[in-house]
């Protein structure tokens, strides 16, 4: 879907929400958050002996829709101009290593005004509810829980039913599998869901499922994720078991696991993390093992510096171990 069409769609849905809130307690500008969000990321891929840059400049918005009896729902809209510079491999959203484009990250509305026993309804382009990413947002950050690599996409167009109830939160989505396109492509679809304990607790446990066909690859996943916090330390993990069916290869079993140990300073400015990631495919010669060490430092409310380094431990069939170093400056105004 073209960015302009998407913007018009979101504006239309926002208008519908606003119309629902008549008599309108708040004008459109009220209960609206917006930020200009800019970042510059420098990557060095040792295996390819290549340095690349990614620049992003965009607007990030959040709007709560209300009427006299309470909130109706909220909307999130994120539109970014993104420029690659010598970036390889070329991400699916771009056509060349120096391409630039307008990218929609999240653009959705969540209707929350139903009775307590009914779920909220989300419509739009949103992050698939699966694993650690459901409670720890990594959009625009170097920190990553590899949702896109595991499921075939991180964000997709569709609808979800979600709710936080007394001791449980859940989110179940049906999306079209078109990734950035608001349509099904060659029969693509994705059913994704997660149910877990409340994400603000010191111990969080969740179970996720995925069944989909994206880019002509069928995937099934069952995952367990957990977070445990003790003081300023965090111990996180995700284990996903499943299988992939590429048209030429048939079904292959896949196993993906991530363990993370993190530490946050008491003033929350510095966050350090180390991850150990294992990815095992049935017909692959060696199990892919990587470590990822990184940090982020929040200078002010606006300015954040983050760095990360990923190193592959096993030797792949190509003989070239992956080694990627990244540094990012991000400013939100």
């Amino acid at each position: 879907m073209k960015p302009l069409a998407v913007i018009l769609l979101v504006l239309f849905l926002s208008f519908v929400f606003s119309a629902l809130s008549v008599p309108c307690y708040a004008t459109f500008a009220q209960n609206l958050r917006w930020s200009i969000d800019g970042s510059a990321r420098l990557n060095h891929n040792q295996a390819l002996d290549n340095s690349s840059r990614i620049y992003a400049l965009g607007i990030d918005t959040h709007k709560v829709f209300t009427n006299s009896t309470g909130d109706i729902g909220y909307g999130v809209g994120q539109l970014y101009w993104t420029k690659l510079s010598n970036h390889m491999p070329v991400p699916f959203l771009f056509s060349s290593k120096d391409d630039s484009d307008l990218i929609i990250r999240e653009a959705h509305l969540n209707y929350t005004a139903g009775p307590n026993w009914l779920p909220n309804v989300r419509v739009g382009h949103f992050t698939l509810p699966f694993g650690l990413e459901e409670s720890i947002d990594t959009n625009g950050r170097l920190l990553d829980y590899y949702l896109g690599k595991n499921l075939g996409t991180k964000l997709d167009w569709g609808v979800s039913l979600n709710k936080v109830i007394s001791q449980i939160e859940y989110n179940l989505s049906y999306t079209l599998g078109g990734k950035d396109k608001a349509k099904s492509v060659d029969g693509s679809y994705a059913v994704t869901g997660r149910i877990g304990s409340l994400s603000h607790h010191d111990l969080v446990i969740g179970v996720s499922i995925f069944d989909g066909n994206i880019d002509n690859i069928s995937r099934k996943r069952l995952a367990l994720d957990w977070q445990y916090y003790w003081g300023t330390w965090g111990f996180l993990g995700e284990l996903a078991l499943g299988e992939d069916n590429k048209q030429s290869q048939g079904w292959q079993k896949e196993k993906y696991s991530l363990i993370e140990l993190n530490k946050t300073s008491i003033n929350n400015q510095l966050k350090l993390y180390s991850q150990f990631i294992i990815k095992d495919k049935e017909f692959q010669e060696s199990t892919d093992k990587r470590i990822n060490i990184g940090f982020s430092y929040q200078f002010t409310t606006q300015l954040e510096l983050s760095m990360s380094g990923v190193k592959q431990i096993n030797t792949p069939a190509s003989g070239q171990k992956q080694q990627l170093a990244s540094v990012q400056l991000r400013y939100r105004y």
């Binding site: 930020s35 947002d137 994400s199």
Partner: protein
């Protein structure tokens, strides 16, 4: 060399632009404290959000009203006050605030009544090993039912710790009592300063 120059220019631009207050995190990660509001107001049928900006001017006013205190940088930006509703009836307000502690940020969800007195509170995040003490009714009773002026009288002369009376009743968790008291004071102060006028109209 060209890349270095671009990065340098970006850094300089960002440093020059160091002003204004927004949320450091992307807005897609914002979460309403739905479970906590339901715990504080079990009979509520909905909630009404009012979003206001905590800026440097507000921060200065807090520093004047509560000398030796400051707002954590994450407390600047756009923040929400929730009004717990039962149909069209207002049950009370909910305000989430963070306070720095020896165990990282403590995030407290405050229930405030229509006279701006503390009605109850629950923790959204508290990594203190003594958290369970602070969840007991005896501990909470030191703060519940009090307004800003009454809570301010519980501060000692240094302006950041609780007085002897509170500390002796803190059941072995004096550090947590200090954190909860400072957070309560800032919460009530900010509620009055930023949302007071609007709440009177409701």
């Amino acid at each position: 060399m060209k890349m270095h120059a671009i990065v340098l220019i970006l850094i300089l631009l960002m440093l020059i632009l160091l002003s204004g207050n927004v949320n450091a995190i992307a807005y897609c990660s914002l979460r309403d404290p739905v479970a906590q509001i339901a715990e504080l107001y079990p009979q509520k049928t909905n909630q009404l959000s009012i979003v206001k900006t905590v800026d440097d001017n507000i921060r200065s006013q807090v520093q004047i009203a509560l000398p030796s205190n400051d707002l954590h940088f994450s407390e600047l930006g756009r923040h929400t006050l929730y009004i717990a509703m039962f149909g069209k009836e207002i049950l009370g307000y909910v305000h989430v605030r963070s306070e720095q502690s020896d165990w990282g940020l403590v995030e407290i969800v405050w229930a405030i009544d229509k006279d701006l007195r503390i009605r109850n509170f629950v923790f959204q995040r508290c990594r203190s090993p003594k958290k369970k003490i602070a969840q007991q009714s005896d501990f909470k009773a030191m703060f519940i039912g009090k307004n800003y002026q009454e809570l301010k009288q519980q501060l000692s002369a240094d302006g950041v710790t609780a007085n002897e009376s509170v500390l002796t009743h803190a059941q072995g968790a004096p550090e947590l009592a200090n954190v909860v008291l400072r957070c309560a004071l800032k919460t009530l102060l900010l509620t009055e300063m930023l949302w007071g006028e609007e709440l009177e109209k409701l």
